[in-house]
Structures are given as C-alpha cells and as structure tokens.
Amino acid sequence: MEDRTRVKQAGWRAATYAGIGLFTLFSAMPFYVMLITAFKRESDLYDPQNNPFWFTEPPTMANLDLLFGNTKFLTWLFNSFLIGALVVVITLVLVIPAAYSLARLAGRWGETLGIGIFLTYLVPPTLLFLPFAKVMAALGLQNSVWALIVAYPTFTVPFCTWLMLGFFKAIPRDIEEQAMIDGYGRLGAFIHAVLPLAIPGILTVIVFAFTLSTSEFIYALAFVQNSVEKTVSIGVPTELVRGDVFRWGSLLAGALLASIPVSILYTLFIDQFVAGLTALAK
C-alpha cells in the first residue's frame, strides 16, 4: 500500500518536472537562438547544411562591432529606458488617484466609468497615430523622445486605471475607516492603510506600463526619424534592416541586450508580486 503511494508520488513528481522542463525549454529557446546568432558569421548562418543550434564556423565579434560601432545602440537603449521610466512615473501619478476615486468615491458610477476608460484602450494606435502626428507637430515635439513620452500614457493610463480599480476595490473599506478613526484624515488613511495594501497592484502597473512603452512600435516609427532619438524597438529593425538586407547577427544581439534587463526586472518583481497577491487574498 505504502509502496503504491510512493510510486504514485514519484510519478507525479516526474510528470511535474517534465512539464517544468518543457516550459523552461520553451522560454529559454528564443534567448538561446538570439545568443548564438549574435556570434555567428553570416556565411555560417545562411548555409542550410549547417546545424542551426551550434557553430559550424568559428564564432565572431563582428556583429557586436557593427551594433556598437556603426549604430547608436547605446543611445537607443538609454532612450527606451528613459521613456519607460518617465511613462511609468506619469502613469502612476495619474492612475493611483483616478483609480482610487473611481473605486471609493463615485459609488456605482465608478465601475461603469472605469470600464468606459478601459474601452479607450481598445482604440488601436494604427488609427490614432495620424491625428496624434498633428498634435505632436502642434506641440513642436516631432522627431523627439518627448513625443513618445507624451503619447504613451494615452494607452498606459486607461489600461492601468482599470487594473488598479480592481486592486483598490479588493481593499476593504473598513480598513480605511479604521485608519480614519485611528487618527488620520482621508489622505493619511490612504497613505498609511490603503497604499501599502495596493503594492501588488502598483507593481503590476509598473511592469505593464514599462513593457508596453518599451515595446511600442507604431508611434515610435511614426513620430521619430532622427537616429539619436530612436528607441531600441524601432532603432534595431529600422537601422539593421537595409532594404532586403537583414543584419541578423547584430539584430538579434540588439534584441538580446534589450531583453536581458527586462527579464531581470520581471524575475525580481514576480516573487513580491505573488507574495503580495496571496497576502491580499487572505
């Protein structure tokens, strides 16, 4: 009897690890391909007889030389992070008070309004970039990172407001009123009792706003032509693809370098994030 349960447990464990293994392989594969291609010679890459997952010809640094020597890659990287960080700040400043008021003060209207705000997120950038181009020109921001810093909150704010609305709604009103009785005004109660409980939501907003703005393509393509003002997501494909010539090695080296910090950021956040969510659920 005991043996059978032990076998069963071992079977379950093996199945679990097999599942995790497959999933890890699935997630790591793109990184591996990017990494190996970044160091491959073009002749190695284009020969269909060669093993695509390993080097047939000796590795080369030429792709990285091209990326760092002949393009403004570091500037693009800096631009992407600057835009991402500023958009996160703008989004948080607008979203936290908006979502809190919708969740608490507007009664039943709050939720309807929240959904209404979310709907504006569904209007695609492919439709909006034309009128926006006019707005940017009127503001004198064409061909500048500032055009993107102004444009990106138009999609991060609606989505994140709706997201935070849910988080604020999940925080019991009692806790806030308790803080008001315990000696704080509404603002103090918000800062001391509500905000610490909303941290999982705030982290989610940071991750979403950052990812959405660093990976955005259409606005960046439409509003920025000057090489030094470009982001990674637009610089790499526009400057490493010339006509029908794809600089795959440099292209994937750029993609890899841009995605490493983002994956580290996600990995750091995910623990806090899950811990916060489960704490809130209890």
């Binding site: 009692d174 806790i175 308790q178 009785i181 315990d182 103090g188």
Partner: protein, 342 residues
C-alpha cells in the same frame, strides 16, 4: 471618558431614513447596547456618532462638545468593526501601535502603552504575528487592544462577537464586561443578539426603522416592553402574545405554568393550552402549542418553558391542559397600535 448625546439625529441615504430622529443620552462610563435587527439603523447610528457618516440633521455631542463638523480623527473615539479591520500588512504590535503613531507619541511611550494593552488582553505572546497568522478570537483581542490603547473618550463596537463561534462568544462576552469594569470607558455596543444585549448592557436601546423604540435596563425592557415590537424582539424566546377579549396579553414562556403546579401567586389568569410539540432539553422542557382563548385567526403559537421536574410525564403532545399565568407578569397591548396599555 466622556458623555455622549444625540439630539433629533437623522441620517438619510436618499429616501432611506436609516437614522430617523434619535435622542440618546449616554452617561460617563456607561455601557449601552443598541439592539436591533439588520436594517434597523443601529450601525448607521454608530457610524454617525463616529463621524463616518454625515448626519442629515440633528446634533451629536461628545463630552458636551458639538461634534457634527469634527472629522473622525479628532473625536477621540475608538471603534471595533465587525470585521476587526486589522491592517493585514502590519504585525499585531504595529496594529496596536498605529493610533499612537498617528498621535506622534514618542517610541518608548508607545512601547509601554502597547505592552499595557496587550497584557490587559493576554496577547503579549502574539505581538510579532501578522493578522493572517491569528485565529478569529486572537484577531478580536488585537482589535480590542488597538481600540483601548489610546484611552478613547468613547468606545464603539459594531457586533464584535458575531464572527466568533458560540463557545468563544460566551467567554469574549465576559471578557468585554471585565474590560469595561477595568477601564471604565463609555461604551456603545451594537448587536442583533438579545443575549449579548441582556448580558452586557447597563442599558439597552431597542431600535427599529431608524428609531429607538425603548431604552432602559435590560430586565426592565424584558419585563415591561412598551409595545409589541419590543415584546417580540427582546428575550429569547420572545414574549407570548394572545388576543383575549379584544386585548393582546403578553407573558413570558417561563411564567406559563400548568394549573396548580407552578408557584402560587394567588391572582392568576386561566388559559387552556393545546399542546402540539414537546422538547425535553434536560434541565427544562419546551412545550409548544396554542391557547384556546386566542381570538386571532389562525391563533399564534405559544411557548412554555418549564423545569423538567415540574412536568415530567405530565404533558403529552396533542392533549389540552389548564394553564395559568400570574397577573403581575402579564402586559396588555392595544391590538390595533401595538402600544402597551399600562
């Protein structure tokens, strides 16, 4: 410690008159219970006193001072919510210290106050835990400690025992009484449980539809309800009501005896009791049935609770027996208005 008064207090939500003209006088150090069914306005009244709801009209005086315009934080009140509303991200210690930090009290003073409150509620060993690692009873104690720690003028409690199981509720009730004796803080306690109201309150205010129907010592209300609503609400089981010669007569189940078997008070009202069901509970017997003289159609059920020794083997289901009630234990009500006649 402080007195509390409300003068013609109204709190309306749109067309709903949650509190509809309440005059309440609470003496310094008194323990008063607001008793009512859900929707009777007792919680709204308490929230209006706390400043969490704005009164539509009328006044609230705390310690003789008009408090209508004061925000909750300056009223020097403490409140225990039904949910306890502990801050889930803070340890028990930090939860209890929170109101003192809001007052910007120095850290060593905070420590001594928290230690004092924790030892009063015997939770010193739990101070490092977060609320999710505490049981229901322990959470309730932390909430009480947090309420006590700043020595409030008035202590408000909104059904603090309703999330506890029956056994814990009993000991918590005794504990609340002890705490009140030791601290002497004016306390307003909201509940729908008459047993809590009877056991805890120095005075009880029975609320219905936003108004106070009757206020007084618990036993006084139990014995002399001013109307049929209070008669039916107060006491477990509630008062029996029988329509006889055009008057509703009310009497408690423990005053209803088989003729000649109960205490002899001389002046007795005679009734014929048609027994429907008998429950033997050990120390007492519950006898359900109808009074033949009840003129209502259909007659309402009447209950007698009798000591087992008194009726053992005497009462059978389906039979009729002569019963009697001492006249001094009978209350009379007008059947049209429900108001007491004497």
């Amino acid at each position: 410690m402080a007195t509390l008064e409300t003068r013609d207090l109204h709190t309306h939500f749109g067309s709903v008159r949650a509190v509809d003209g309440v005059d309440l006088d609470v003496k310094n150090g008194e323990f008063i219970v607001l008793l009512g069914a859900s929707g009777s306005g007792k919680t709204t009244l308490m929230r209006t006193i706390a400043g969490l709801e704005k009164p539509t009209s009328g006044e609230v005086y705390i310690g003789g001072r008009l408090a209508n315009r004061l925000p909750p934080k300056t009223r020097n009140i403490a409140m225990v919510f039904q949910s306890y509303a502990l801050y889930p991200h803070k340890t028990a210690y930090k939860n209890i210290a929170f109101p003192l930090q809001a007052l910007r009290m120095p850290a060593d003073k905070i420590r001594s106050r928290v230690t004092w409150a924790a030892s009063l509620l015997s939770i010193t060993h739990l101070l490092d835990r977060k609320p999710r690692a505490l049981s229901g009873g322990e959470r309730q104690r932390v909430a009480l400690a947090r309420a006590l720690v700043r020595e409030p003028a008035i202590f408000l409690m909104d059904e603090p025992l309703s999330n506890l199981d029956a056994k814990l509720r009993h000991s918590a009730r005794r504990e609340l009484k002890r705490l009140h004796r030791e601290t002497g803080v004016t306390t307003i306690y909201v509940t729908h449980d008459q047993v809590e109201a009877m056991g805890l309150g120095e005075r009880v205010a029975v609320m219905n539809a936003g108004r106070i129907e009757q206020i007084g010592a618990p036993l006084d209300i139990y014995r002399n309800p001013v109307n049929t609503f209070v008669a039916q609400f107060m006491g477990s089981p509630p008062m029996n009501l029988v329509l006889r010669s055009g008057t509703l007569i009310g009497f408690h189940a423990e005053d209803f005896f088989p003729r000649g078997r109960g205490p002899d008070y001389g002046d007795m009202e005679q009734l014929t009791f048609r027994v429907v069901q008998v429950e033997e509970l050990g120390s007492e017997v519950l006898v359900y049935g109808y009074v033949a003289e009840d003129e209502r159609e259909p007659p309402r059920e009447v209950l007698a609770t009798l000591p087992t020794a008194l009726v053992s083997g005497y009462i059978a289901e389906g039979a009729e027996y002569p019963f009697e009630v001492p006249r001094h234990a009978i209350r009379r009500f007008d059947p049209a208005t429900g108001l007491g006649k004497d």
